[in-house]
Assembly symmetry: C2
Homo-oligomer: 400 residues x 2
């Protein structure tokens, strides 16, 4: 049943209201609504927000629920990539099992949409994608998962990867991924041409990891902007991390942000604590649609992170000097409605006619809820209660 009446909730921290969801969409918001023929939940005054959105993660990489992993490395990005690729099988990192563990906790913490990158490389072929497709299907009533076919070990530098990406997109991956066309792929023109060719062929959007710093990142970003405009792919291209937009020079970054906004390229930030990161406030002010993600959680790369978008919001907020309530409200919007918008989804917020996806969260105000990483008593997906008091209540979910 996807008809639901939630009584006594405070939409976006405002005055108490009832929210009626019918056929998976918000039918009425008001007071004293009649409860005929619908399941009723009492929110007891909790705040209602649109479901949280993890717009950048790698569900299958986590070691969550496994013994503590002691093999982490320091060093360059290439060392971390190689360590992971070589560790997956000896470590027994089962994609479907680990993705389920990660995604279920995201649901329990109020997440309704996930964009997850899955490694496509010539060692593993399409086996990792197969596991993640299983997870997407197993949890489809609880969370909508977009899968990015992601050449984690490089595209141009690993011949055979292009063909695997092509197959992955045919098999059901939703988005064409990319990785540092200059610094990792060493051939930005060929790398970007290949990514855009795949996107055009399959009619699918793009999401490129861009860790490149400073002027190198800016150069690659300019190439992404040029191709987005040339292919008429405005609104269909995303750039993840985009550390170059965190450069300290506003005279360089300002015009770049304007160009990103004009090409309607979406930026996905994880607020990386030890890197320069683009400011969500500045990006929003420039008109860029911004999403936020947890990125990897306790994986072979690093030990940190939690499968919880309010935890991530805290990291992003602290990183970007957000202190005031209005800044914390912007932060929460990026972690929820804004992330869905950046992913190209319908994202009107909690309005009549909009999707019946919402999360109840404790707290005095929206800002307080963010800072507290407040409990989430109820999570609703298209009118269906999918988690209650932090526990999944979705029927028929079998853990592998």
């Amino acid at each position: 049943m996807t008809d639901l009446l939630i009584r006594n909730t405070r939409p976006m921290g405002g005055a108490p209201q009832d929210i009626l969801i019918r056929d998976g969409r918000i039918a009425t918001i008001g007071t004293g609504l009649a409860a005929e023929d619908v399941r009723v939940e009492d929110a007891a005054g909790a705040i209602a927000i649109p479901t949280l959105v993890d717009a950048h993660t790698h569900l299958d990489k986590t070691t969550w629920g496994m013994p503590w992993y002691t093999g982490r490395k320091g060093g360059a990005l290439q060392d971390l990539i190689d360590n992971e690729r070589n560790s997956r099988i000896p470590l027994g990192l089962d994609v479907h099992r680990q993705s389920m563990r990660h995604a279920i906790q995201l649901i329990e913490n109020g997440t309704g949409h996930i964009r997850s990158h899955v490694d496509i490389d010539t060692d593993h072929g399409l086996s990792l994608l197969e596991g993640k497709l299983q997870t997407r299907d197993a949890l489809k009533h609880g969370v909508e998962i977009q899968i990015v076919a992601f050449p984690q070990s490089g595209l141009m530098v690993r011949p055979g990867t292009y063909e695997l990406l092509d197959e992955a997109l045919a098999m059901g991956a939703d988005v064409v991924g990319g990785l540092d066309p200059s610094s990792m792929d060493r051939d930005p023109k060929a790398s970007l041409d290949a990514i855009f060719r795949l996107a055009q062929k399959h009619g699918k959007p793009i999401d490129i990891h861009l860790h490149e710093y400073g002027e190198l990142g800016a150069f690659t970003l300019e190439e992404i902007i040029a191709r987005t405009l040339a292919h008429g792919m405005q609104g269909l291209v995303g750039v993840s991390h985009c550390f170059c937009l965190g450069m300290p020079d506003p005279h360089r970054v300002g015009p770049l942000m304007d160009a990103v906004a004009k090409a309607d390229i979406r930026i996905f930030t994880t607020g990386h604590p030890s890197a320069e990161v683009p400011s969500p406030q500045d990006m929003r002010a420039a008109g860029i649609k911004v999403g936020m993600g947890c990125d990897g959680i306790r994986d072979t790369w690093g030990p940190w992170g939690q499968p919880d978008m309010l935890h991530r919001a805290r990291i992003v907020g602290m990183k970007n000097r957000m202190r005031r309530d209005d800044e914390l409200e912007l932060l929460l919007d990026v972690a929820s409605r804004g992330g869905a918008e950046a992913m190209g989804l319908e994202a009107p917020g909690l309005v009549v006619g909009g999707p019946g996806d919402l999360t109840l969260v404790a707290g005095e105000t929206l800002a307080h809820a963010v800072v507290e990483e407040a409990p989430r008593p109820l999570v609703v997906k298209r009118g269906r209660v999918v988690a209650r008091s932090g526990k999944l209540v979705l029927p028929g979910v079998v853990m592998p």
Copy 2:
């Protein structure tokens, strides 16, 4: 009773041992120790570490337990300082009550030593110090609190503050504080001369907040180093934050760190997420004694933070790219034994003859415990159980 036998604990994550504490000091570490005449606690395999140390905080500033504070400002340091000084009384920020709330949670989370800065200014006089002295006394069996007399609103720029600091040190403040002698006090020579004069007069150590970035901070730090050597105060001077040691130029920072180490100046970091910070790894490698602190927690300056040193360790670790287990072990040492050492306290770690201060922490390994912010089933201060399962069990503590 301060005799205590803890059975089945894993000191520093090693093999299971018993730890016997007699007369407040560790008497024996071994297996199968006899339990005559002592209270016995079963650690059930939990890891034992030296108690955590919050080496830089402002206990009385927190709004914890009060309604959500909506009046936070953006802007420059001076705006934040002024907003706080003007808000304390209207907001009802009772020093003793708020310090108790903050300090008790620190104890419950396994903290055995705190260094807390108390504002001394011409608006509030010594009233804030009086409140904090009450807290120090009320909790003296649970945690040892060092109080820094801190000219938060400036020393040279607010005539009358010097005399108040002088009185504060006579009343029982333990450490002479200072604030940005160049950028805030606008007269580094006079400001530092005054601070060192007070230290010499009262025979007390120094701890200066140095937020100054880059070359300005380096200049001030050089002046601090020069005075430390000139007064023979090696080991008695601390610098908090010291963002200038986070400058990206290793050729500038390396020699500065060497000079800090040679003058045995201690550095207290909070791993500020949106500032350049000095690397704990690099400071340790240079031979600097380093402590870590939670700084302000949900105060009028900012909404973030938790009264928990493992939470802070996570922030510091993420900020400083710590990934490997050995890095996480260094991080935990800075958050516990190393912080006590930097504060000038006896800090041998968990050894026979050392202080009977320890915290039990769950987790597979030390690294795992840090990342998990793992539960702390028992906190012991000089052989006395002061917190159990995250709750204070110290008799005679009355909340104001």
